[in-house]
Subunit: 302 residues, 2 copies
């Protein structure tokens, strides 16, 4: 199903808007210098501009919209979280990691450039995320800047995405059950999705005690997202996905699909989406885009 | 020359103190979790604890001491900058980068663990640096936290260390002259050394207009540090250095030594150290440790 056919035009226009805003922001953040760093910045641009669905920036900006946050601040913070996501894809695709040749329908960074450049471009995007968040001109309140950094650093490090990636790499030696797979995915995928919502709330200056429903929504869709990813790997279309699929099956890996069966996994993902949207009922129509996004997350074909 | 013989006991005790404080802080920051992330955290500990000279944390804490900064805050910030330094060494040592087998006299991380773990451990230490700096309990003032993050992110990314590393990788295709090599090293090595001093000044709440002499000192010793590194690569002792040397010569790379000759390079390094220490004259005896450190930087044998 295409985005437009399966969801309403609100989501389609929300995605189109954030995609073009994030691309424009990365373009401005990554001018190619007139020295031998040129290759590095070209590589960063190759990975960061175009191609991505921008689910995380949309999650962030749709949350920020609930609280009337300035659009530029939300888009820049969206770029920060996307820079982390993109760097993680670059490093995950490396030969010593998942050894992937295709990403977003084009050659992976290390195939198009080389491995050393891929390592460095990933590292530079990682640093860029924190450079973006410490821009005084965009986030005047230093408390906001510091809280954004704390949230993103925690979500990406050993207690977040990188920790989940390690658990994933250890899957061969560990007989993970559903509980363990859930924990793994909460770190590997869930932490950054949750951080997207959290950063929107931080920009909205929502006090911690007011974030419970948003956090619950983020937790639910994080899990639904990964179940959908496992289903996509199991039964998706490689051309639409723009990357190699059937990798879990080939490696004999435990996933939500192997543990629950395709139908059980699909039912669980849908139930999580229903639960997630119910969490936002107090926001009424203002949360319509976040609800659309929750549904899109399980219906997407890439 | 050993540290103790070539410099006074003030420097020796300053180095010994910060080495043990940084090791203890990393030990506390990196508890091994009781799940399959254990291997990742063990790898981070392998690289971060023990072995390093801790020049950057000492630069930071000695600068912070000029302004009566709380010791815990200075040591934690020292760990943040050291986490960046250590992650960069892990990634630089990878087969696709410098392909080094030895670091601090022991096998490099990817040799002792594996390449994928080395990529992830580097990434996790990168994130850890920003987790450390956003610890509200240590840096109560959010402006200080935000300024520390901005300084470190900028020094480590494409306009700092990573950018310099890319310029270094491009050296084969580029006929660098002394001006270009100086620029390259200002980014590759100088940026993080300068950030160490800057972060000490930030902790000391020194306004930007009061940092000129400290910045000039940092610039001078950054350059001296790299000249000393090139001399060490050219004529040092591998056992003392704990890593492979003579790599620049083998690769036919342009360095300060090839461009200025060993004697010219040595004279230049010494002149820079004299200039650097003169920058600190207004601090009087309070800056004695920073002056010792400047001299140590060119006299070290590893």
């Amino acid at each position: 199903m295409s985005v437009v056919a399966s969801t309403d035009s609100r989501l389609a226009s929300g995605l189109a808007a954030i995609q073009s805003e994030v691309d424009a922001a990365f373009d401005a953040l990554l001018p190619v210098p007139d020295d031998t760093r040129g290759r590095l910045v070209e590589a960063m641009r190759y990975a960061a501009i175009g191609g991505g669905k921008r689910v995380r920036p949309l999650l962030l900006s749709a949350t920020a919209d609930l609280f009337g946050v300035d659009r530029t601040a939300a888009v820049q913070a969206g770029c920060a979280i996307e820079a982390i996501h993109v760097y993680s894809l670059i490093h995950d695709d490396l030969p010593c990691m998942d050894d992937d040749d295709l990403r977003h329908g084009k050659p992976t960074l290390h195939k198009h450039f080389d491995e050393a450049t891929a390592v460095l471009a990933g590292d530079s995007l990682h640093a860029l995320a924190f450079e973006i968040l410490s821009d005084e001109a965009i986030y005047g309140d230093p408390f906001v800047r510091a809280e954004l950094v704390a949230t993103l650093a925690n979500a990406s490090g050993m207690n977040g995405m990188a920790g989940g990636q390690m658990m994933d790499m250890e899957a061969d030696h560990a007989a993970y059950d559903l509980h363990a797979i859930t924990r793994l995915q909460q770190l590997k995928t869930g932490a950054l999705l949750a951080a997207s919502v959290e950063m929107g709330a931080i920009l909205g200056k929502v006090p911690i005690e007011g974030r419970a429903n948003l956090r619950a929504y983020a937790r639910d869709i994080g899990l639904a997202f990964q179940i959908a990813d496992d289903l996509l790997d199991h039964e998706g279309d490689e051309t639409k996905a723009g990357k190699a699929l059937r990798k879990d099956d080939e490696q004999g890996k435990q996933t939500f699909v192997t543990l629950m069966g395709p139908d059980g996994a699909r039912d669980q993902a849908k139930a999580l989406v229903e639960q997630a949207t119910a969490r936002l009922s107090s926001f009424g129509d203002d949360a319509a885009l976040l609800c659309d996004l929750a549904r899109y997350i399980v219906e997407r074909d890439r």
